[in-house]
Amino acid sequence: MNNKFGALDSVRSLDAGMNKKKWIKENLTGYVFILPWLIGFLAFLAFPLLRSLYYSLTEYTIVGDPSWVGLRNYIEIFTDDPKFWTSLKVTFYYVVFAVPLRLASALALALVFRKARPFTNFYRAAYYVPSILGGSVAISVIWRQLFSSQGAFNDFLVAMGIMGDRISWIGHPDYAIWTIIILAAWQFGSPMIIFLAGLKQIPKGLYEAAEIDGAGKIQQFFSVTLPLLTPVIFFNLIMQMVKMFMVFTQVYIITEGGPLNRTLVYAVYLYRKGISNGYLGYGSALAWIILVLLTIVTIVLFKTSNKWVYYESEGE
């Protein structure tokens, strides 16, 4: 407690019995306050997570009871489930293109909006709108129509003479995944706002110093802006990556994992196998595999971050 009221404390502590009571009361109060979180954590996270570890070691379908099979699910997944490998490949493909595209767009626009001009606030808000709508069913429904064979995208291509025939972009084995990657890139609004906040933190003096040293605008970007922004880039990278690894709604609605499983991302496969088809044990194993994989990727990113993320305390 603060010194100001220290005297009061020492008077209280004269009575040891009262102190014990106070101690119990303090602990109880603390737990009452965190109780809502604690209930949520135990009931909806810890308990299901541990249960699923057990289920992953059982054969368990929606009609029967779980029966112990040891590592059989895992062995089957790794050795005898081509769809598992397909879904991993599709998910990595998606993440590897969608995350950098989104972050690059976010950074580019943040740099544009860095200098206040008339209507900057309006533009910033407008560019942010896709971010708040992106996860909605509405946007997925629009996207599906936009890139369907009758959709507006074909109208443009035909009108500009790029394409003679209309094709269904969401039904094409090579392009379907790209309609979803573009949708992800389209939602660059929130990383853009985070970059803008990061750019504001860079001291102006550094640019003045760089200018005196004769650095041009481009050189300033690479020697001042980019290094000082690496912590923010890193933060955005982790957040976006974790989110995109588990993309579900957009794929489920736009392509349903098709055509030919070319857009079968992991979360859709997990849902299909574990819930639609009712293989609860097998699905639990799938869930644990992606959780471990995601943890490994995150740890690796954190480890490599010492090499490229610039922390001020080290530099000065």
Binding site: K4, E26, N27, G30, Y31, V32, F33, L35, P36, W37, I39, G40, F41, A43, F44, P48, L49, S52, Y55, V112, R117, P118, Y123, A125, A126, Y128, V129, P130, L133, G135, S136, V137, A138, I139, V141, I142, R144, Q145, Q150, A152, D155, S190, P191, I193, L196, A197, M239, Q240, K243, F245, T249, Y252, L270, Y271, G274, I275, L280, S284, A287, L291
Partner: protein, 281 residues
């Protein structure tokens, strides 16, 4: 040609508006296309033009009728109920727990706090199957409970966000109130909660958005059409194999994002500051 400084600035500004404005139009085109589509005749709804030849307001009436004898009034009511309860519950309970983590002392505080931080990034998808089994055993499947309750109890992200905010409120305020004989609960409700307003608004809006847009949990747990939220209804309503009335589909799609857009227009400041402060997405 020699240009003065202000002339150069002017040209730069014009160039900025042409490029940024043009790209902005390109970005917002899908949304404008949807709004236009809601007013076009069904046969024409998918064309690229943004100008409907005949304003077909009847699309809204036709769409509103819904399907299976259940109108969109029911779906909207369900969505408002789900998202509203989740939002109010989340901001009160998360701030309550955040207070516990910052302003009280108890055994195991550091441990629980570390656990909370560690679970921020656990994706919900991982938990779907065991949660489904659990709710099934509890007999909750088919009710709103498994959809609302997990979104109502403090999620790590919002709790952490509020912890950050509570830390910024001077402790002297608590101490003065304590001298006046205020209990911890009194301090929370009278001192901390009113001071949390900005973060409550930010967290509240995001909670509302996420719950409003939530698709997977209602897909799993709600089985009767009369309990469907807008997100599920829209998916059913827009099934490309069954639909013929594209205008009506666009009209309902448009209505489904209207609450989001309205909240955005009114609370833009809170949203953008919230994103910048917390990295919310």
């Amino acid at each position: 040609m020699n240009l003065t400084f202000s002339q150069k600035e002017k040209i730069k500004n014009i160039l900025f508006h042409v490029l940024v404005g043009g790209f902005c139009f390109f970005m917002l085109y899908p949304l404008l296309w949807m709004v236009a589509g809601s007013l076009k005749t069904s046969g024409n709804a998918l064309s690229a033009t943004l100008w409907p030849q005949a304003m077909q307001f009847s699309n809204f009436l036709e769409g509103w009728r819904g399907f299976g004898g259940v109108s969109f009034a029911v779906f909207f009511r369900n969505s408002f109920f789900i998202a509203g309860t989740a939002t109010v519950g989340q901001i009160i309970l998360a701030s309550f727990s955040a207070f516990g983590f910052t302003r009280t002392r108890f055994i195991g505080q550091k441990f629980w706090f570390a656990i909370m931080i560690a679970t921020v990034l656990v994706p919900g998808q991982i938990l779907r199957i065991p949660q489904y089994i659990m709710f099934n055993q509890w007999g909750w499947v088919g009710s709103f409970l498994p959809v609302i309750l997990p979104q109502m109890l403090p999620v790590p992200f919002f709790t952490f966000l509020m912890v950050q905010f509570v830390r910024g409120i001077p402790k002297e305020l608590d101490e003065a109130a304590e001298i006046d004989g205020c209990s911890k609960f009194g301090i929370f409700f009278k001192i901390i909660l009113p001071n949390l307003k900005p973060v409550l608004v930010t967290a509240g809006i995001f909670r509302f958005y996420w719950s409003w847009n939530d698709f997977m949990t209602p897909l799993l747990y709600l089985q009767s059409v009369t309990k469907y939220p807008v997100s599920i209804a829209l998916k059913m309503f827009s099934d490309p194999n069954a639909i013929t009335n594209w205008g009506a589909m666009f009209a309902m799609t448009f209505l489904s994002i209207l609450p989001t857009i309205i909240l955005f227009i009114f609370f833009q400041r809170y949203l953008i500051d919230g994103v910048a402060f917390s990295g919310i997405d």
